[in-house]
Symmetry: D2
Subunit: 361 residues, 4 copies
């Protein structure tokens, strides 16, 4: 069954494998008249690129984006936009040792049972390399939302292992986030995180964490009751990212101890005559529809499954075998996942913005 499409109007379909010819995306439903260049897209991809810093994998991949269709003389035309990154460094022979075994907490076993066949070179379709296609599509959504609607979409690393910042997400800027290689806007905690990740890198181990997302200036009215609530679609978009195990919005799991009388966001009229809420435990959506307040959410990532430590696992023939990943891998994906979270948020918002134009009245 098809499952490689996200969105109803701004509809993206991704394709490609980590060690095949490349990875790409088709966007169907992008409005015409948006100025787009490969440079715009590349800037976002570079934030996701492997080898960008000492704490990411050392693999060097240039990940050059190519716009294949749907853009004419620098503008989108309303026809499908296809974009592609061709793989340069395929090295699939490296992976012959993976042919018959199931790496722990990877998708090797489930893909093989589901499809009866799997591309065993570097994870194939299950590789996080697929997410570059999302970042490329997200770059267009982000540009449109920013330029046309002044919506700002930010994400940053809030927690790695047990190291956590409690910085106020309402005050963060993109510059703060990009000020260090771990993409945590709290310098002090960022330093600790970097040290921790470097230590794990040496040990060949890995760690997870939390990315915080913030959407500022979203218009009132995004989200479609009752199943396609904005929060439900944001949740799905995040839970579809590799290694994500949890999502919450507003007070989320942390608001459980509160009483209704504390948690309710009372309305007031601000100095501009606008209806606003005093608190924002709802996280910017009520009844599944955006209410004009900041939308904020958390995304929980498990530790990367690929580690250099020796593990026991089984192979196709049911034999127990030893396994130790030999490639160069990220000890912590979160710094590189920041643009992915932003991209999925942008795609979800874009889709709901286009849905809103129609559906309301």
């Amino acid at each position: 069954m098809p499952g490689n499409t996200f969105g109803k109007i701004f509809k993206i379909t991704t394709f490609g494998e980590s060690h095949g010819r490349g990875v790409g995306v088709v966007i169907d439903g992008c409005p015409s008249g948006i100025k787009i260049s490969e440079k715009d897209i590349q800037a976002e991809l570079d934030r996701r690129r492997p080898g960008q810093s000492q704490i990411t994998t050392e693999r060097k991949e240039e990940d050059q984006i190519k716009i294949f269709s749907g853009v004419f003389q620098g503008s989108t035309t309303g026809t499908p936009i296809m974009m592609i990154v061709e793989n340069k460094d395929q090295r699939s022979s490296d992976y012959n040792n993976l042919k018959n075994l199931y790496r722990p907490s990877h998708a090797d076993f489930t893909y093989e049972k589901k499809y009866g066949i799997r591309d065993f070179s570097g994870g194939g379709r299950a590789s996080a390399r697929e997410t570059l296609a999302r970042v490329a599509a997200g770059a267009i959504a982000k540009k449109y939302l920013r330029e046309k609607l002044k919506i700002e979409i930010l994400a940053y690393v809030e927690q790695i292992g047990n190291i956590k910042t409690d910085i106020d997400f309402n005050k963060i800027t993109k510059k703060d986030i990009e000020s260090n290689i771990v993409r945590c806007p709290d310098k002090k905690e960022a330093k600790k995180m970097i040290d921790f990740v470097n230590k794990l890198k040496k040990e060949g181990d890995s760690v997870g964490g939390v990315i915080r997302g913030v959407i500022k200036n979203a218009p009132i009215g995004l989200g479609e009751p009752v199943f396609d609530r904005l929060n439900a679609d944001l949740g799905k978009s995040m839970l579809s990212i590799n290694a994500v195990k949890g999502f919450d919005i507003g007070s989320g799991f942390e608001g459980i101890g509160m009483l209704g009388s504390e948690h309710n966001d009372q309305f007031f009229i601000d100095k501009n005559g606008k209806v606003k809420t005093k608190t924002n435990f709802s996280g910017g959506t009520q009844g599944g529809i955006s209410n004009g307040e900041n939308i904020y959410f958390r995304v929980a990532f498990k530790p990367v499954a690929t580690i250099s430590k020796e593990q026991l696992t089984v192979d196709k023939n049911g034999k127990v075998v030893k396994f130790k990943a030999s490639g160069r891998h990220d000890p912590c994906v979160l710094p590189r996942a920041v643009p992915i979270v932003e991209a999925m948020a942008a795609i979800t918002l874009m889709d709901h913005w286009l849905r809103k134009i129609v559906g309301d009245r």
Copy 2:
């Protein structure tokens, strides 16, 4: 834009308002030949019914289900199944005082801004009464999954406010869950929860909590990469329930402190020759596809927005007004939300089971 449909093959569309003529559902895509009676459906609805115990709202609603189409001589025929509960106790005049004001943390404000009009009687479409349609559809899915595939779907209250059980979800039975009115299988904690909710009821306040869901015996191979992962669709299904603010699966938000070497679920061969994992931090899905282990997840509910304490809010004309809910309402929705969580899990599993039949090979 439409947003009232969930599922791709087992496709449910709900309709109806809390104080209109009634609430119902159309299921399109249900396989033929399933034995179904109104009794089967009613049993699940009764678990969601208001007034079922001292800790729920005292409103008495019978919520009698009627199967309108798609079932012939006791069997589904493959044509759309429409089911309906007609509202008996409409009393919409009670709600005239809500006509012009926006209740805090309700959907009054967002619906009005989105649609320019709203059914102000009791929340209209935004009322949790809509979820009875999901429970009805879920009853059919549950029956099919249980009888045909031996899949068991359970949910229970794990936490209310700060009262929490750490009982092992792998060992819970339906009987344990139904053994008390708060639907927490840990008798000691259940007692505390009931006392706490009763206290809040007197005070006119409310509280949230966590429902744990467990799916046992799911076949390997459910879930479609890359966007329609089983975990992503489960997450969306839960986040579409009223008052839900968070979802996690497997280790979720609680696994963040773990290292990869601790978190990876190592494979082994069990005594029946089956590939199993020693631990199950993945929560039964890897690469978005079920791996045959128990699927377990948490759903975070915020406190009910309707409380009897006086609050400040604003009305349509931008005036600040005092507001105090007069109706009879639940201080804590979780005991009644247990069958809703089970229903959405069943619908999601059913949809992915039918998708699997087609898509794999």
Copy 3:
């Protein structure tokens, strides 16, 4: 698999069987703020009603529509609109003789082979009674298109058997169409048609024909390349009506003998400065998108399968049996199919109008 939904934004799902509890529709995606009453809907249903004239079936069915949800104080609210007609005259015992046999050119055989079970009372879901749900949904679309966009949607009987009118469809009014019971605006040919149908009624035989549809004043830009062309979706909508075997638009099957130099619709500037075409062989769409000219199309209906003449057929056990329909049936469905064709055209246009608002720029 689900197949009971039509439309992407103005999305209708029909349900119900001819001799079950009733037939109905859910519309998801209808804009809010449209004034709608049961009277508006009923007027269209009455044009489809059995027993409305001497040349239709003599079955008396009142077909009273009930709006169940989605309309509040006379206006649509943006939430799902459910409408229903309850069956009064079920008489399913009449149909026991159909239980085991396959009526020629009916869906008895194919439903039974597909689903393993079928509702044998009066055709069940395969009955043309299902189309009343479409007429109800179409009534809302028609009203919106007429009042908001001044779009006029007309259909009439152009041919029955070999009796055919060549009246100019650009000049027809609704009044002309409704001026006689066969709904052919050419009085002379209408008379012949009525006589012919009456003759067949006596003989217990049936006949097919052609309905012509005309859409005036459609805005430029409806239709989505490349698969969801306006002409392709109109075609699908018509071909989904019971007994329809053909569809063409513009010059259609009759333009085959023309050369390109004759067929091309040359552009000119009219006195209001608008770009128009001199001829309109394209039928109002070019590249799948409406160009502002009249959209016109033909829909071919086969003769009704239900006839009172004795036929040979087979039963479930593979025996050859004699069969003669005993009920009261239409010798020619076309007069009653006119509002169905209009309804499906309106639903298709409405959907594409809502799609256009978003997609263009």
Copy 4:
């Protein structure tokens, strides 16, 4: 709004423009384990290729297909299959004269009004070059249907202008069709057609015609009531092809003169004990579901809009201008459209086969 996707389970999305970087397709939902090579695809593309004979355009385009993803070691893997043909001979400067004018009966005017921008080089997305993506996707569907289900899908030219064959479509083979360059299996009429097209080529004019499609050995039970009938989806698939203006199935427009007693397909039991029909006016579907008889249909093509004769038209500024197409174009697209019709039929059948597996029981 998106409109570039066809199918629900075997879901194809095409992209690309006639004079951009190329044209391609993503198939999402293709089952795993199908043996596929670029050679298999190329064979079908070569039947659609320009310049293949004296009666097609003289443009030489190699149209080399490249499989980009979804195939591993010669087998489909269940992940998205992306295939692409890169444009070699772009020559877009040739088209600068088209920048400001609207060619008669082309999509220039409607695209520009809809999107506010259009790729004016050679028709851009509206060019029939887009259909090569469909032929590529259809090649996989065809192979699967033939090898796994023994379904044979054929199409041939039945009529060009007023020259028509009445050969029995039940007896045609692929070899008959490919025996001459016009792809009409009736040698005598084929000769006349070729002469006629050659004459028009010299005159710079064009002509339309009818392609007949035949599907043999389709299993019983394909098609989903009530909107996604097999005939409705086949109709839509054909009406989405450039220049198509009509579709009928079974007796279609030609059965209108028949009475029900003549038209009904009486059932009988054949010598193998199978339920068959004596006649097949239904065209292999009843109630929208295949009944095991041959499915046959007609597709009406208008004359190609591009002709070398001088025409009057208007430009963007509202001026009347003379226009004469200078490129090399087909006087009659039908011979090259035969594989397109086959491809769309195969894609539709494949989709409904996969839908059937799920949906029935």
